[in-house]
């Protein structure tokens, strides 16, 4: 089927169903039926409380950025302190651990 014939088909079909039919197209009791159903529904404007997962999902980009910022800050601080001649965080932990072991009364 060539393009012109296809266009002719579309043009003829467009005339078949007008985009906005007259009001008589809608059943008379339609509004009442909708309203009846709506009355059985919860009130509008009161959003369903989000689950913890929904909230985490919503916060995801911010939480991920915050976590990345904390990691970068820690690395930078560790690097800065080491360059300044101060003991690394790992050294401090090792020292504490060895003191704890030697004391014997740590437990």
């Amino acid at each position: 089927m060539n393009e012109k014939k296809l266009q002719r088909l579309f043009a003829a079909a467009r005339k078949d169903a007008a985009p906005l039919p007259p009001d008589g197209f809608v059943p008379a009791d339609f509004v009442a039926d909708v309203l009846r159903q709506v009355r059985n529904e919860p009130a509008v404007g009161q959003p369903v409380p989000a689950t913890i997962f929904d909230q985490l999902n919503a916060l995801f980009p911010r939480l991920a950025l915050a976590a990345a910022a904390v990691i970068i800050l820690c690395i930078a601080a560790d690097f800065g302190l080491t360059s300044a001649g101060l003991p690394e965080l790992g050294d401090g932990a090792a020292q504490l651990s060895s003191q704890f072991d030697l004391n014997g009364d740590g437990l």
């Binding site: 296809l6 088909l9 039919p21 309203l35 529904e41």
Partner: protein, 187 residues
Amino acid sequence: MSDDAELLQRIRAGAVDEFAELVRRHQSRVFAILHRYERDAQRVEDLAQETFLKAWRALGQFDARAPFEHWVSRIAVRTALDHLRREKKHRGDIGFDDLGEDALDWLQHGDDKSELDSRSAAEILNLALSRLSPADRIVITMQELDGRSVKEIAAALGVSGIAVRVRAVRARAKLRRALEQLAPEGK
């Protein structure tokens, strides 16, 4: 008479009955959209009810950045899409035996200048479109029959404009193939 925004404010404040006025204002448009995808009057009414019920449930999320009419139209299109998907599962392929003589004659012997009445054209298109996927069918119907822009279709389906353009080209090719198959089958 108050506009949609005022009505919505009152509905949110608890005036449930005001929703009836909102339905009254937009029912013709919703019925017209659904009528493009379903010809059975009772089913169209059921789908229209489903559309307004969905609108009611989502009313808390409507931020009034776009007119209410556009928003409810989008819900109608998505309801139609869901309906076509359900139908496709249950109905499978449709044959072309139901085509009228005029429609068959035009398909088999007509050229681009031959006369075609609107009823026959709709018959042919409905049968050919039923062979397409629901999303392809929606894109073709909105673009070619409703005269909607790519932007409007993209907003209704919740996809990008590029996705709509790509789908439209492919859907058109599939429709052409379906129409070409139609003539020999009708013999």
